[in-house]
Symmetry: C2
DNA sequence: AAATACGTTCAGTTTTTACTGAACGAATCT
DNA sequence: AGATTCGTTCAGTAAAAACTGAACGTATTT
């Protein structure tokens, strides 16, 4: 009995999944998040945790945590399957929506915390402008001006990310 | 003899450096790359490797490798100091330039390799369209159409990143 | 009510990434 | 030429991240 050869499209599917993993990995998001999204993205029907785990060869625990990362990114959503109490998930195939509500939102948030940190430093610095320590005044002035610049830029990018025009470009 | 208290602006500077580290870390770029850039960004004059190493409390080996990451991002550049054979570096303070030549360029490259991977999968899939395996035809068709979609989107984003309009928005 | 099936959490482990110290070649100084 | 002083590389180590199996709470089934 000859061993049933894998249909070509299944190996293609697997390659796509691997590619997804590599891509997210290269973006510093970890490998699994990409593989899992890719798997769901190519699936004709919602999948439950165990199916995903088996398909990717990882533990259910990993699936559980990773799938919720994907949910935060609005990259997947859970769907109801009647007569089955398991949680099923399907991919959000609208990349534009994922980018908008997932990636850009995350970006904004990170930029925002960066801004807050600058704010803190700035206030810490204001208390220093009184202590005139003649010697390295110049060094301090550089710090002040550069900090100002950084803050300004942060605001600029933040504005860009909120710019409705950006949505139209997609 | 009272212990000389740190001038306030120096603690502010240190906080800024830490913040830089946390920021780059949150973007999956590692902590040191942010700290090092922040240090140079606030420095009134170019710094040599040993100064950087001492200031950040890390080995010169780390400085050497990290500084070249920063160079690849066009975030720092080496400058000549006459009468000193050491390599000095200063920060590129024009964030816009860094974004354009560093971040966006890197982004494009990664998107590009992602595109190539899709290409490979697509070709692998074309060979499969002949083998009509009636049973899971539907599953395969989903794969084909989704793949098409992914490819289309990849091209779209790639176009956006190359769009000169993007530069104007900054 | 007991038993089963789910998804989540968490301590522990594996894997990956970041960092270091020592060794080296090249350039500069004596 | 010999002795320093650089920057880089690399094998080894330390730190961080990803992953797992077992235990648990909750909901469903029998």
């Amino acid at each position: 009995m000859s061993p049933t050869p894998q249909p070509q499209w299944i190996t293609a599917r697997r390659k796509f999944i691997e590619a997804g993993g590599h891509t997210t990995q290269s973006f510093g998001l970890g490998r699994m998040i990409g593989q899992m999204y890719a798997l769901l993205y190519l699936s004709p029907r919602p999948m439950c945790l165990d199916e995903i785990a088996q398909e990717l060869g990882i533990s259910k625990a990993s699936v559980s945590t990773t799938i919720r990362q994907l949910e935060r990114w609005t990259a997947v959503k859970s769907v109801w399957v009647k007569g089955d109490r398991r949680d099923f998930y399907e991919a959000e195939t609208d990349f534009q929506a994922v980018l908008k509500h997932g990636l850009l939102a995350t970006l904004r948030k990170k930029l925002d915390t960066a801004g807050k940190q600058i704010q803190v430093v700035e206030e810490c610095l204001k208390e220093a402008t009184n202590q005139t320590n003649g010697d390295d005044d110049k060094a301090m002035e550089v710090v002040v001006s550069r900090l100002e610049r950084a803050k300004h830029f942060q605001g600029k990018v933040n504005g860009l990310l909120s710019n409705p025009l950006l949505d139209h470009l997609l």
